[in-house]
């Protein structure tokens, strides 16, 4: 029989997280700090709106780009949060999670051989999506000494005449790093100088613990060269609904809408109705969840300080990224032993890029009570390793 598979797909290496997931499944009674989604359930008023839409028989397709009301609310939100004006008819597309926007954004913009700059450590899907779109991914290894922010120099060094898009994933999964206005201004200057586009993945924008989140699209000259991706998963604890969106230049959104129309048709209708309510009435929920995350973040940072574990202070998302280089193990060895000996699952930094070696991603999308138990075990483990070494 002929080989049924596409080489391009087969050659993509499976997600490092998936591999570790299989290990975790084998360990009975393990507790986890490895989850990349909120522990909160979707606020009730949002769920209720989804249920109500079902009761009313709103069970049909919506327009390809998404419900009018939802796109209008997204524009209000962009105005209110970022001071950005988008035309809801031409510059907004509702997608199946932020993930779809990443995929079709790249597919709409890439010609064979174009280079896409991907700062790492970062979310696992940028690189495979770039490859599937026919791009050459170029990795920028972010550094702990810069608190895993992207610097203008690092960007400048990675740019060639084939560079077309920079993916800008901040606030960052897995490091928790953010980019403040001054950091973004330096990046924007390089972007404009080299006439590059930015795909800014701002799915964690609402989970910023130092000042207000700044979108690179809001800087002068940047809105016309930025695809701003956001969604409902993290801000409103709506991961399972699969609701995201993208705002950007009309010509790019039009081509993305074409792919979306053929591949997806429209984002789930129930979720779209719920999302309208999230944008209209969800600000207090965001504030409440953000406060809870921030308390846990402070708790973890203090715990690391007390056990002498090196970790820069992250101001975004719900992850901390401590350094475990002092133990002379790889991230994967550390995570595997920690799981086997203390029954706590964390994700090795290498799951998010080679430069995550020597780090762990610890999620604080868990109640303080659960964090305390897990951190107690980490302290025990760290102590044991240090004693054996000394």
């Amino acid at each position: 029989m002929r080989n049924p598979l596409a080489d391009k797909v087969v050659e993509i290496k499976p997600s490092g997280i998936r591999k570790f997931f299989d290990v975790v499944k084998e360990i009975k009674g393990a507790i986890s700090l490895g989850v990349g989604e909120p522990d909160f359930d979707t606020p009730w008023h949002i769920r209720e709106e989804g249920i109500y839409s079902l009761e009313k028989g709103k069970t049909h397709y919506t327009s390809n780009a998404g419900l009018e009301e939802l796109r209008q609310e997204i524009c209000h939100y962009m105005k209110r949060k970022n001071g950005l004006t988008y035309d809801w008819k031409k510059q907004v597309l509702v997608t199946v999670g932020g993930s779809e926007a990443i995929d079709i954004g790249l597919r709409a913009m890439i010609n064979p051989g174009d280079e896409v700059l991907i700062p790492q450590p970062s979310y696992v899907s940028y690189e495979p999506c770039a490859v599937l779109a026919g791009a050459t991914p170029v990795i920028i290894n972010l550094k702990a000494e810069n608190e895993f922010r992207l610097t203008a120099q690092e960007l400048e060094d990675a740019i060639t005449d084939k560079t077309k898009i920079l993916i800008l994933p901040f606030p960052n999964n897995p490091t928790g790093a953010i980019m403040e206005r001054k950091d973004l201004e330096a990046i924007a200057e390089v972007i404009i100088k080299h006439d590059i586009y930015v795909m800014s993945d701002e799915i964690y924008a609402e989970l910023t613990y130092k000042g207000e989140h700044v979108s690179i699209a809001s800087l002068p000259g940047m809105q016309e060269r930025t695809l701003l991706i956001n969604g409902f998963s993290k801000a409103y604890a709506m991961t399972g609904w699969r609701m995201g969106y993208v705002c950007g230049p009309e010509n790019i959104i039009a081509q993305m809408t074409k792919i979306h129309q053929f591949a997806i048709m429209c984002a789930p209708t129930t979720g779209q109705f719920a999302a309208v309510d999230a944008l209209k009435n969800g600000d207090p929920d965001i504030a409440e969840m953000r406060t809870a995350y921030n308390q846990r973040r402070r708790y973890l940072m203090n715990a690391f300080r007390e056990m002498g574990l090196e970790c820069f202070e992250p101001y975004g998302a719900f992850y901390v990224f401590p350094c475990i280089k002092e133990f002379g193990m790889t991230s994967e060895e550390f995570a595997t032993r920690f799981l086997e000996e203390e029954k706590v699952a964390v994700v090795p930094g290498t799951a998010f890029g080679d430069c995550g070696e020597g780090f762990l991603r610890i999620s604080y999308a868990y109640s303080l009570e659960n964090l305390k138990i897990a951190i107690g075990r980490l302290e025990h483990f760290v102590k044991k390793l240090r004693e054996n070494k000394g």
Binding site: K25, G34, V35, G36, E37, Y123, T291, Q295, R298, N302
Partner: protein, 160 residues
């Protein structure tokens, strides 16, 4: 810090001061001072425990009583409310808008105890025009806490 502090201890008054200071990102001494101030100002009125008595062997009856009263010149409803609240079996007294005036929540050991309080004490007060007593059959949620089965974490152990 005040609002966040209150929100935390309203849910967990047993949290220790050191931990409270850590999660609020302030010094422990500031937490101590703020708590003392909140107590002095009468904003924090107590540190109670939420108990689901139904799960114990201790019998308790809770009733919600709607009371219509004649307000007094210059005093409004305060006088009669103060009188009612003096009874130790009265757990809460609220002034309510709408069809009646005071809502009294009463806790007694038996049905008879509650009924005799209503007929002997409450309805015989001069200002009280009428009462309607509702017995609470089951508590589903109290003080923002759902009584019942704790839900498991249904998330996958590891997700990107």
């Amino acid at each position: 810090m005040r609002e966040e502090l209150l929100a935390v201890i309203e849910k967990n008054s047993r949290i220790d001061l050191k931990e409270l200071a850590i999660i609020l990102g302030v010094e422990e001494i500031d937490v101590v001072n703020e708590l003392a101030a909140l107590e002095a100002e009468g904003i924090i009125c107590g540190y109670h425990t939420l108990i689901n008595w139904e799960k114990t062997n201790i019998e308790k009856v809770t009733a919600l009583i709607e009371v219509r009263v004649t307000p007094q010149r210059g005093q409004g409803f305060d006088n009669v409310a103060e009188r009612i609240q003096k009874y130790p079996e009265v757990r809460s007294v609220y002034l309510i808008s709408g069809g009646y005036d005071l809502m009294v929540i009463l806790e007694g050991k038996t049905l008879r105890e509650v009924s005799s309080f209503v007929s002997d004490k409450l309805s015989t007060l001069d200002q009280v025009l009428s009462t309607a007593t509702h017995f609470i059959l089951k508590k589903y949620k109290d003080h923002g806490t759902v009584f019942g089965q704790k839900t498991e974490d249904e998330r996958e152990m590891i997700t990107p």
